[in-house]
């Protein structure tokens, strides 16, 4: 019961005060791409959540396998990335064979949802915050929820960042980047700046 409560609290923290997407700027390239495909927002975020959970659990165990040494900053990231790549290939294979219709519909978002900085940052975040296994899972779940909120907000914002009164030079991506910057600034009010 304590574990579940801790998990929920960590998930809440991941959405608010320790939001790595808004305050940390992690994964906004993916957020923008997901926001441009509003019909797949829900599934995209679900994939991100699942892979983040897998990454955080893997990271929890892998962090123990690699004791602190001179080579660990070089070897550990490579090992984590290879593990995530193998998980993706396995997931793609299983989905393609077991539910081909589902894979045909959502296959094109599976790889960007599995392989991105949000998913691969989970082991580092767990290491920095020294989270236990349940808290790590909670943090990954909260990050998935944050990703969903970010994409929903941005999918509306993309319309606001294109209008005839705006300078041509700022229309589209430049205004969107400024929009993201101001939103990130708002979330920085939670943390005061420091995340790790």
């Amino acid at each position: 019961m304590t574990n579940i409560v801790g998990m929920i609290l960590t998930a809440l923290a991941a959405v608010t005060v320790e939001n790595i997407i808004f305050s940390g700027g992690i994964g906004f390239s993916r957020v923008l791409r997901a926001a441009r495909k509003p019909k797949t927002l829900g599934m995209y975020s679900a994939f991100i959540t699942v892979f983040s959970v897998i990454s955080s659990v893997m990271g929890y165990y892998l962090n123990r396998l690699f004791p602190e040494s001179e080579l660990s900053p070089i070897l550990r990231p490579a090992a984590l990335a290879v593990c995530i790549a193998l998980v993706y290939i396995l997931a793609a294979g299983i989905l393609k064979l077991s539910v081909p219709a589902f894979y045909k519909k959502y296959g094109q978002i599976l790889s960007p949802a599995a392989i991105n900085t949000v998913v691969l940052s989970m082991p580092y975040v767990i290491g920095n915050y020294r989270l236990g296994l349940w808290d790590a899972v909670g943090f990954a779940l909260g990050t998935g929820v944050s990703f969903f909120f970010a994409t929903v907000i941005l999918s509306r914002a993309l319309h606001q960042c294109k209008n005839e009164d705006m300078p041509n030079a700022f229309s589209g991506l430049p205004a969107t980047l400024i929009y993201i910057g101001i939103l990130s600034m708002a979330f920085a009010g939670f943390t005061g700046g420091k995340i790790f």
Binding site: F28, Y88, I115, T117, N168, P174, I178, G181, S184, G193
Partner: protein
């Protein structure tokens, strides 16, 4: 001879596109994280630029050779494996050039493996283009990345008045150094993207006038 000249001219265009006119950061919004998170002093910027070049170049050339042999569904996973494997010598080389760089960068160094700009060029561009085009594109993107991150870093470091080249004080500054926070990086990128968009618009207007004149 004529073909060779044409090839070099094409490669030049691809290089310039990657560096500026179709810069994946400012036009494609790829690879934003290292710039917004770490681009607040020149030392970080140079370290990340070196890592970018040393990871992307060999991986791109490898997938230029074998990319089309790999099924589309599996390719992204193999690309990530390739980046991870080339990260090891890239990190070692960067560490040799700037001692202590990988430790000071922390997770930022490790996350360069899944940098969306590298993954996008290796997965989408490299397998479907010839070697010289891939080489020019990777080099152009690397230079473009370096230019953007260095410019952002110089501006932020100058505002912070903490010295342009400085030992990393941590991934993020303290609360008082708001300029080192990711939000300011996004805002600077927005203005740079506006500048590139302005230049591209002027170029396309000029090209349209030239075509109309012909």
């Amino acid at each position: 001879m004529k073909n060779k000249r044409l090839l070099i001219k094409e490669a030049n265009t691809i290089f310039l596109n990657g560096m500026f006119f179709k810069n994946p950061i400012l036009v494609g919004a790829l690879g934003l994280y290292p710039i917004v998170a770490a681009g607040y002093n020149l030392k970080n910027a140079v370290e990340l630029s070196l890592l970018f070049l040393f990871i992307s170049l060999p991986t791109s050339l490898l997938f230029c050779l074998i990319g089309e042999m790999v099924p589309l569904s599996v390719r992204p996973g193999l690309v990530l494996c390739g980046c991870a494997l080339f990260y090891i010598p890239a990190a070692w080389l960067t560490q040799r050039i700037i001692p202590g760089s990988i430790e000071s960068l922390g997770m930022l160094a490790g996350l360069m493996i899944c940098n969306s700009m590298i993954l996008s060029r290796v997965n989408d561009y490299a397998p479907t283009h010839i070697g010289i085009a891939v080489f020019a594109d990777t080099l152009g993107c690397s230079v473009g990345f370096a230019l953007v991150i260095c410019l952002v870093s110089v501006i932020r470091a100058a505002w912070l008045k903490s010295g342009i080249w400085q030992t990393n004080i941590g991934i993020y500054g303290t609360g008082e150094k708001g300029i080192s926070l990711p939000f300011f990086g996004f805002i600077l990128l927005g203005f740079f993207a506006a500048f590139v968009q302005f230049i591209n618009k002027k170029r396309s207007t000029k090209a349209a006038k030239r075509r109309a004149a012909k």
